[in-house]
C-alpha cells in the first residue's frame, strides 16, 4: 500500500463471556471477533458490511477502545491504543470520533443542542472563547442554523439530529470518524442528504471514515474499499468496484444477490442462501460459512481459511476461490 495507514488492526479478538456462574458448568463465550487484520488508509472510506451479529459494530468500537479487545493490537496514528489508559487515551479520543445510528438516543433529551455540543469542547479543555465560533461554523457547515442551538432533540427531525451528531463528532477536528449505521434510521430522501453531506465533508477536510452499514448500496456509493464480515470474521476485503463487480467469496456473492434492487425482479429464480446465521457462541468449525455455503467441500469443515489475494487489490478467506485463482 502506497499511502500511510491511519489505523492498523492486527489479530484482533473479542470474546464476550455470557452471564451464568460456576454452577452451570462451563462458561459460554460469544466469539464476536476472531483474528481480524485490516488497515484503514489515511483519507479513505472503508466500508464494513455484514448481517446483524457479524461483529461489524463491535469492530468499530474495539478500534476506538469503547470496548476493550480481548487480544490483538490496534495502532492509531503511531500509538498502540490497547496499551493506553485513562487520560492519555481520552486525549487520543479527540482524534477519533463516532456517529451512532439513532441520533434521538445518542443525544441527551434533557439538554439543548448547544449544551450537547459544548460538552466535547469542555471535556477536552478547549479555550472557552473558541467554543461558540467553532459551534457556529460547524452548525452552518452541516446545514443548520444558530436558531437550532436552543432547541431540544425532540424538537428536531431525524435528519436534523443526525446533522447535529455529525457536527458534534467534528468539533474536535478528528482524523478518523467511525460511522455506525448513520443513515439506517432515516428515510431515503433524508438519507441522501446525509450521505451527500458526509461525502462533501470528507473531501473538504480530508477525513478518514470507517463506514459501518448493512446497506450495501449506501456503502458502495460512499466507500473506496469494502470489507465483508461474517460471524466475527473478515471474509473478504478489497476495492469497492472489484467487490461489487467480481466478488470472490461465496458469502459476498450471496449477499450481493440478496439485496433488493430497483429494476430487478429475481424472486422467481435465483437459488438464494438457505438457512440462518449460526450462533457465534458455538461457531462452526473450519470455515464459519460452510454450513450455508453452496459450494462447500470437505476441507471447509476441517481447516480455517485465511485471507489471501484473489485480485490486484482484493483478498478473500475461502479455500475454494483460492484454488480456483491459482
Amino acid at each position: 500500500m502506497d499511502k500511510q495507514a491511519l489505523v492498523t488492526v492486527r489479530g484482533l479478538v473479542k470474546h464476550f463471556p455470557l452471564p451464568g456462574g460456576w454452577l452451570s458448568g462451563k462458561r459460554r463465550i460469544v466469539q464476536a471477533l476472531d483474528n481480524i487484520n485490516l488497515d484503514i488508509v489515511q483519507g479513505e472510506v472503508l466500508g464494513l458490511v455484514g448481517e446483524s451479529g457479524c461483529g461489524k459494530t463491535t469492530l468499530g468500537r474495539c478500534i476506538l477502545q469503547l470496548i476493550r479487545p480481548t487480544e490483538g493490537s490496534v495502532q492509531f496514528d503511531g500509538d498502540e491504543l490497547t496499551q493506553l489508559r485513562g487520560d492519555t487515551l481520552r486525549r487520543k479520543r479527540a482524534h477519533m470520533q463516532i456517529v451512532f445510528q439513532n441520533p434521538l438516543v445518542s443525544l441527551s433529551p434533557r439538554r439543548t443542542i448547544q449544551q450537547s455540543l459544548t460538552e466535547p469542547l469542555s471535556t477536552h479543555h478547549m479555550p472557552r472563547e473558541e467554543w461558540m465560533p467553532r459551534i457556529d461554523a460547524l452548525m452552518q457547515r452541516v446545514g443548520l442554523g444558530i436558531q437550532h442551538l436552543d432547541r431540544y432533540p425532540h424538537e428536531l427531525s431525524g435528519g436534523q439530529l443526525q446533522r447535529v451528531s455529525i457536527a458534534r463528532a467534528l468539533l474536535l477536528e478528528p482524523k478518523l470518524l467511525v460511522l455506525d449505521e448513520p443513515t439506517s434510521a432515516l428515510d431515503v430522501s433524508v438519507q441522501a442528504q446525509i450521505i451527500n453531506l458526509l461525502d462533501e465533508l470528507r473531501r473538504e477536510i480530508g477525513l478518514t471514515y470507517l463506514f459501518i452499514s448493512h446497506d450495501l448500496s449506501v456503502v458502495e456509493h460512499l466507500s473506496d474499499r469494502i470489507g465483508v464480515m461474517y460471524l466475527g470474521k473478515l471474509v473478504e476485503i478489497g476495492n469497492t468496484e472489484q467487490i461489487m463487480k467480481q466478488p470472490s467469496h461465496p458469502y459476498t456473492k450471496a449477499l450481493l444477490q440478496s439485496v433488493p434492487r430497483v429494476g430487478s425482479r429475481r424472486m422467481h429464480e435465483a437459488p438464494l442462501l438457505e438457512g440462518n446465521v449460526p450462533s457465534p457462541i458455538n461457531p462452526p468449525s473450519g470455515c464459519r460459512f460452510h454450513t450455508r455455503c453452496p459450494i462447500a467441500e470437505a476441507i471447509c469443515q476441517q481447516s480455517e481459511p485465511i485471507l489471501e489475494a484473489t485480485g490486484a487489490a482484493q483478498w478473500a478467506a475461502c479455500h475454494l476461490t483460492i484454488k480456483e485463482t491459482l
Binding site: 448481517e51 428515510d187 430522501s189 441522501a192 448500496s217 458502495e220 456509493h221 449477499l255 430487478s264 440462518n276
Partner: protein, 324 residues
C-alpha cells in the same frame, strides 16, 4: 368481477390536544385477486395506518372519518366488532414488522397457532395439530415437530417471521396484509421471505398488500404499486411502469435518492425540506413545499389524473401533458 379489496376515499384523523390531525386524506386503492400490491412511502405517510384501517385496528384517538372499505363488495366499516373478529385472521390476515413482538413469548409456537385455528374453525385437537404442522411445513420450516414445541425465543428472526406467515395462512385467507415484513430481517433472510410471499401469491392465488419503505423490495416482488406522500396517493401504476416511467415529482425524487441509481462520486439527488407535520391542513398539493417543479396551480389540490393504462398521478403537470 368485483375487486378483492376496494378502498374508496378513505380519511383518517387523530384527535390530539393540538386539534384534529388528519393523517390520511382521500386515499383510494383497488387490490385485485392474486396480486401483490405494494404500498410505498416514507415514515409518517400513512401507509401503516391505512393498512390498520382495513381491519379496524386503528389505535385511539384515531378514527376513520370518511370512506368505504369494500372486501369483495362487502363494506367492512359497516361490520360490528364481533363480525370483524371473524374477518381478522380469517379472510384477511396480517403480518407485522417485528415477529418477535408479535408472537407471545410465554406460549409455545404450536399452541399459538392452534388458538388461531380454533378461533375460526370447529375442528378437533388432532385434526387441528395436523393442519398446524402441514402449514408450518408449507412455509419451508425445517423439523416442524420441534418448531411446534418451541418458544418464540428459541427461533431465529427468519424462522419467527415464517411462523407469523404460517399463522396468517392457517385459516386460508384471501388477503394478507404484510406491514414491513422484512424490515427487521437481514438481507439474505429478507430475500428468502420475499420469495416465499411471491410463491404464496403465485401458487395459491393469495393477494398480498405489502407495505414497505423500500423501492427495491417493491421492484422485486410487487405487481402494482401505490406511492403515498403525507397521507395522500401521489401515484399508482404497475410496478414496471412506475419504475421505468415515474411521473409524479415525488416518485421521481424518491427513485433518484437511492444510491444505486447515482453514479459513484456524484452527489445523490436529495429531496430538500421535510414532510409537512399536518398534511390535512394543506389546501393545495401536499408535495408543493418540496417540489422542484412547483408553480401557481399547485395552490389547488390536484386529483388523480389518468395518464396511461393502469397509471395515475396526482400532479397538474401531468394533466397539462395529457389534456393539452
Amino acid at each position: 368481477m368485483k375487486p378483492l379489496l376496494d378502498i374508496q376515499n378513505l380519511h383518517i384523523a387523530f384527535d390530539t390536544s393540538c386539534g384534529k390531525l388528519r393523517v390520511v386524506n382521500d386515499i383510494s386503492l383497488v387490490i385485485e385477486e392474486g396480486q401483490i400490491f405494494g404500498l410505498v412511502g416514507e415514515s409518517g405517510c400513512g401507509k401503516s395506518v391505512t393498512s390498520l384501517a382495513i381491519l379496524q385496528l386503528i389505535p385511539k384517538p384515531g378514527h376513520i372519518t370518511h370512506g368505504k372499505i369494500l372486501f369483495r363488495g362487502d363494506d367492512l366499516l359497516a361490520k360490528s366488532q364481533r363480525e370483524m373478529q371473524q374477518v381478522r385472521g380469517g379472510k384477511i390476515a396480517m403480518i407485522f414488522q417485528d415477529p418477535f413482538t408479535s408472537l407471545n413469548p410465554v406460549f409455545k409456537v404450536g399452541r399459538q397457532l392452534l388458538d388461531v385455528i380454533r378461533q375460526h374453525h370447529k375442528i378437533d385437537k388432532k385434526e387441528a395439530k395436523k393442519r398446524v404442522l402441514s402449514t408450518l411445513d408449507s412455509v419451508d420450516l425445517p423439523d416442524v415437530e420441534r418448531i411446534f414445541e418451541s418458544y418464540p425465543h428459541e427461533l431465529s428472526g427468519g424462522q419467527q417471521q415464517r411462523v407469523m406467515i404460517a399463522m396468517a395462512l392457517i385459516s386460508e385467507p384471501s388477503l394478507i396484509i404484510a406491514d414491513e415484513p422484512t424490515t427487521a430481517l437481514d438481507v439474505t433472510i429478507q430475500a428468502q421471505i420475499l420469495r416465499l410471499l411471491r410463491q404464496l401469491c403465485d401458487e395459491r392465488g393469495i393477494s398480498i398488500l405489502l407495505i414497505t419503505h423500500d423501492l427495491g423490495v417493491i421492484s422485486e416482488v410487487c405487481d402494482k404499486v401505490t406511492v403515498l406522500y403525507a397521507g395522500a396517493v401521489v401515484e399508482t401504476a404497475s410496478t414496471d411502469e412506475l419504475l421505468a416511467n415515474p411521473q409524479h415529482p415525488y416518485t421521481q425524487g424518491l427513485l433518484a435518492a437511492i444510491p444505486q441509481s447515482a453514479q459513484k462520486g456524484q452527489a445523490l439527488q436529495a429531496i430538500a425540506g421535510v414532510v409537512p407535520a399536518n398534511p390535512g391542513a394543506i389546501t393545495g398539493c401536499v408535495f408543493a413545499s418540496r417540489c422542484p417543479h412547483v408553480y401557481d396551480r399547485c395552490e389547488h389540490k390536484p386529483s388523480l389524473f389518468t395518464i396511461g393504462e393502469n397509471h395515475q398521478s396526482a400532479c397538474f403537470l401531468q394533466e397539462e401533458v395529457t389534456h393539452g
